[in-house]
Amino acid sequence: MAAATSTSAKPFDIVATYNELLRSDPDLTMPIAAIEALVLLLTHSPSSTISETLDLLEKSTAHLKQSIPNPIGLSAGTDLFQRYLITTLQRPGQLGPAGDFNAIRAHLLSNGRLFIRRAKESRDKIAAFGRGFVRDGSTVLTNGGSRVVASLLQQAAGEKGGPSAVRFRVIYVLSPAKGDVEGSSAEPEGMETVRALREKGVPVATIPESAVAYSLGKADVVIVGAEGVVENGGIVSRMGTYQIGLLAKAMGKPFYVVAESHKFVRLYPLGQYDLPIEQRVIDFKTEEDVADEATQQQQQAQPTPNVKSPDSSDVVDYTPPHLISALITDSGVLTPSAVSEELIKIWF
């Protein structure tokens, strides 16, 4: 709103805004950052009619999705935002077709912060629901750097401020630190949670991904986070979740997914290779290809530093619903089949 003067000078870049939002607040999830970026976009654009706005949203969303290597998470946010606009406009009431379009615009623009706060609050709600899953004397196996899982475990550990009320142990699966030169610390994702838990007196064991099968026998329950929850109740999550799910099923351990309901995506993947993103995880090469690549790299020296190679740490896999015992969301503990209903409710 304050930057109204600069709109003419510099066109609004939604991709940069999105990335900036994600960087500035480590607690922000991708869908929320996408919603925020769209809200900012609206503040910068003087569109005053409904169809103009929707058109703008659609174009920017498409642009944003194209420019981000893995748009599954953010598409949940953009879809939700778009559906919300359309549904509100169709509904009778002061924000409806008869009402003032500026009113809904004003509501969205003035409440951007509120959305973020609610999204963070929903994490606490989930933690409150999920506390029941961490029982006295149990051992929880988890992975990755999910903020929801972290807040759930910390809430279970830190009830009433004193020493942990629930005596539980955590086996934390850490993937090796990213070797990239991203400037970030070389410590694996999730170390922060590990430290926070240890501080609260929760015994934490860290294991590499290769030790999951070995360690699962000592675990009572598996709790993981998710990047997106797809229509059939499966999840898209960081690479390695699928194998933990398979192993948990094989060993008969309950496998719970913790995710906010704004991560529900309208996507129906039929398998690992059906996700609408390109990941070069399996990359067949012969000696010839390797040599080619080496020469190419030499030619280009330091070519494009800002194009992130998609094979860094954000590769994902898809965990099908039959491996999931339950989803702990801010609308309660759902079975995987309940996800489609929630999605249907907003789309139809």
Binding site: I35, Q94, D100, A128, G132, R135, V333, T335, A338, I346
Partner: protein
């Protein structure tokens, strides 16, 4: 305690008899002690006693204020549930009554401002137990729930949808420039004098629940012919009346074979009696059905087997029909001990497992901890205390229930029809309000 009880043994019959004459607080204490002493057991008896008691509670409270009624029912409900936490039907009935009151209260309010706001951003203003942090959440989702649980109200389908709660209109911090103030009139409407008699409506609703409890077996049995075919071999377990009625209904038209596992040591006597038709009249559960004909009277071959023979015979069985103690929100169930073995054996042989259960047994409780659901009973049924030497030296345990996970069940038949286990969450959300899940 009550003068009228006289020769009656304490139980459901005596409780219902004294309910009319006693003061309501006495009856509450009476039921609590009956539950604690396990003098009322079995899902249906507990449900019936709870429903009658709550009807008494409502009719004894001389108020028409929904909030006070909810408070009162919650208070009584908590005490009852604490008395016997493993009888989950008690909690189910309490939740349904609470839902009834809330529905009536909302109906009432709706008449007032349906026109202006279409109920869109309104919140049910009934106070929730403020002891739970999840309440704030349920408040946000009430709207969509309402739409789901009350089909006859089309006006509510426009209520806010749960995934939108993130973006929706803020009620308290709503400071919209240029919008009319109609955003939150709801809070004030609470004080309005109710235009109709909520108490009477709720009492009607409870009577409907009681009717449901008496009719549920017949309603379930109506589906029998869809599931039992001629010359099939059916395996069942324990003396569940729901299963017996189901089989009897089919037996009237078709000939089939029933293999009955005896459920030693907790239920074998009742099972033997069911098979032979010599029902002991002292068993209060069966007292209403004690004149029921056994299956053999209808020309059905019934084979009584020990529990250990289940696996051996499973390869010949076409269908397993089981009764249950309670059904949980994730599709799993708690049933008498031995059920899991049967379900597992059926899984190995790919035999379909059908569970017959009234909707009143369906509990919104999520089984976080399976072990805590299982009750342990009288060890002397396994080894009697006459074997003192043995009892001294070994640890005898007699679990009464089994937890059966959802993946071992193929179909639930309730009074509403047949459902896959993964669909049960939907029935749960239709029958219980989110804010009542933790009473």
């Amino acid at each position: 305690m009550p003068a009228t009880s006289g020769p009656l043994t304490p139980g459901l019959a005596s409780f219902l008899k004294t309910l009319k004459t006693n003061h309501i607080d006495t009856s509450i204490d009476n039921l609590i002690s009956l539950l604690k002493r396990r003098q009322i057991r079995h899902s249906r008896s507990c449900a019936t006693a709870t429903a009658y008691l709550l009807r008494g509670v409502i009719s004894a409270s001389r108020t028409n204020d929904a909030n006070k009624l909810i408070e009162r029912v919650q208070h009584v409900g908590r005490r009852l549930m604490a008395a016997q936490p493993r009888e989950m039907v008690v909690g189910n009935i309490v939740r349904r009554v609470l839902g009834l009151i809330r529905d009536e209260a909302e109906d009432d309010r709706e008449g007032d401002f349906n026109l202006s706001e279409a109920g869109s951003e309104s919140q049910p203003q009934t106070p929730r137990g403020l002891d739970d942090p999840t309440d704030a959440l349920s408040a946000r989702h009430d709207g969509s729930d309402r739409g789901a649980s009350r089909q006859p109200l089309p006006a509510l389908t426009a209520a806010p949808i749960s995934m939108f709660s993130l973006l929706s209109h803020p009620e308290t911090e709503g400071s919209l420039p240029g919008t009319p103030v109609s955003a939150s009139p709801s809070g004030r409407l609470l004080g309005h004098a109710p235009s109709k008699d909520i108490r009477a409506e709720v009492l009607d609703g409870i009577s409907e629940i009681i009717d449901e409890l008496t009719q549920v077996d017949d309603q379930i049995a109506a589906y029998a012919l869809d599931h039992i075919h001629s010359n099939e071999i059916i395996l069942t377990h324990t003396s569940s009346t729901t299963v017996q009625k189901f089989l009897l209904k089919a037996a009237a038209k078709r000939k089939f074979t029933v293999i009955h596992a005896e459920a030693f040591p907790n239920n074998h006597e009742a099972t033997h009696a069911t098979v032979s038709g010599a029902n002991p009249h002292d068993d209060e559960l069966l007292s209403t059905e004690s004149f029921q004909k056994p299956l053999i009277a209808l020309g059905i071959t019934v084979i009584l087997i020990p529990d250990s023979a289940v696996f051996a015979l499973m390869s010949r069985v076409n269908k397993v029909i089981l009764g249950t103690h309670s059904v949980l929100a994730n599709g799993g169930l708690v049933a008498s001990a031995g059920t899991r073995v049967i379900a597992r054996a059926a899984k190995v042989h790919q035999t379909p497992v059908v569970v017959v259960s009234g909707v009143y047994k369906l509990s919104p409780v999520y089984p976080f901890d399976f072990d805590s659901l299982i009750e342990y009973g009288d060890a002397s049924k396994v080894i009697s205390y006459e074997d003192g030497d043995l009892v001294d030296q070994i640890d005898v345990q007699n679990p009464l229930y089994d937890y059966v996970p959802a993946e071992l069940i193929d179909l639930y038949i309730t009074n509403l029809g047949g459902h896959a286990p993964s669909y049960l969450y939907r029935i749960v959300s239709d029958h219980y309000r989110k804010e009542d899940i933790s009473v």
